[in-house]
Symmetry: C2
Subunit: 209 residues, 2 copies
């Protein structure tokens, strides 16, 4: 079975793909709204992890709507949820099984159960969230086993998540101070730089190749 | 990392164990409240699936409390939730990482997020639910790939879940009609009778042995 995993290049979507790998044929998909070329980091990480990777171009009007939400709210959560929900709908339109890196303790992005059911019913897809049953401790333990991570201050890390384009459009129109106002208190960020394949998984991969 | 999976011998806890298998050392644990020897089916299924299996004896006062709930409510959901929550607490007391077969669409048993956080904080454990991010379609597809299933009417299937002892104690004290009153509308039930190991997983297992 094929699964298409929404992929930012971050820890959570990387770990989600690794948990799916023994059971599905995994392709990573990075969505882009046409404002900035943000997919490079995700492509590099996907290659390091050994997964196929695609970029999906999504209507820029969705980013415009999210930009309006962020400016009106003075806070990014509703905007990021909107981008995530739209990205899921777009990926679901072409693929039967989709996934993402949503964790149990995430607040944003996070679809509520009725929205999950609406997505599955309207797009005739299956939406899976392999990390939804895992809390922070379990995710940290699995990340520590499977991924090589670099930590740094937020603005020095190149990422491919929705926030990058949202920050970029806000910065272009209102300057960097508005970005800091809308995205307060972001400190340490992490970047996946490779994979520590556990012995069992390496054995499995060798047999599969 | 060791994980201890609450195991009834049913589809969901079996699939949960299979999803954990590439990433954890899995031991299956069947809880028993001392009223009836219900663990035989789970032990047989665990053996068929190739997992270690233990039986954990739990204070019968917990079953008595659940029995009172079921009789008072005329409905089993609160009682089953109580048995499940207590079983999780007991297994968590001795083990760092525990898991179960709770699915996204389950109503019972299902811990709410504050109860999950309380369990983890008070027992210093990590509670994972590998199927929580999977809906019915995804679970059915994975079960179809990985498990051999037998379907039958409820009362003809031998199981090892909490319901068996709860039904047994109600039947002993009130007769079979009360059991049918409290557990209405249960029709087709399924039993795991073996494992269809996918080629990749078989390869992995061969290398691991």
């Amino acid at each position: 079975m094929d699964v298409f995993v929404l992929f930012s290049g971050g820890k959570d979507s990387s770990l989600s793909a690794i948990l799916l790998e023994p059971f599905f044929d995994v392709t990573l998909v990075t969505c882009n709204f046409g404002f900035a070329e943000t997919w490079g980091t995700a492509g590099t990480v996907a290659s390091e992890l050994g997964f196929q990777h695609r970029v999906m171009q999504i209507d820029g009007a969705i980013l415009e709507a999210a930009y309006e939400m962020a400016i009106n709210d003075g806070y990014p959560n509703r905007a990021i949820n909107h981008l995530h929900a739209c990205a899921l709908e777009c990926v679901a339109s072409g693929h039967a099984i989709i996934a993402d890196g949503t964790r149990r303790d995430d607040r944003v992005p996070m679809l509520k159960l009725p929205d999950v059911q609406r997505l599955e019913d309207t797009r005739k897809c299956t939406y899976t969230r392999p990390l939804l049953g895992y809390g922070r401790c379990a995710v940290d333990a699995l990340v520590d086993i499977h991924l090589k991570i670099e930590e740094n201050e937020s603005e020095k890390i190149e990422k491919s998540d929705y926030e990058v384009e949202l920050r970029a459009i806000i910065e272009e129109r209102h300057g960097p101070e508005m970005v800091r106002t809308i995205f307060p208190g972001r400190h340490l960020q992490s970047r996946v730089i490779g994979r520590k394949t556990a012995p069992r998984l390496r054995s499995y991969a060798m047999m599969g190749d």
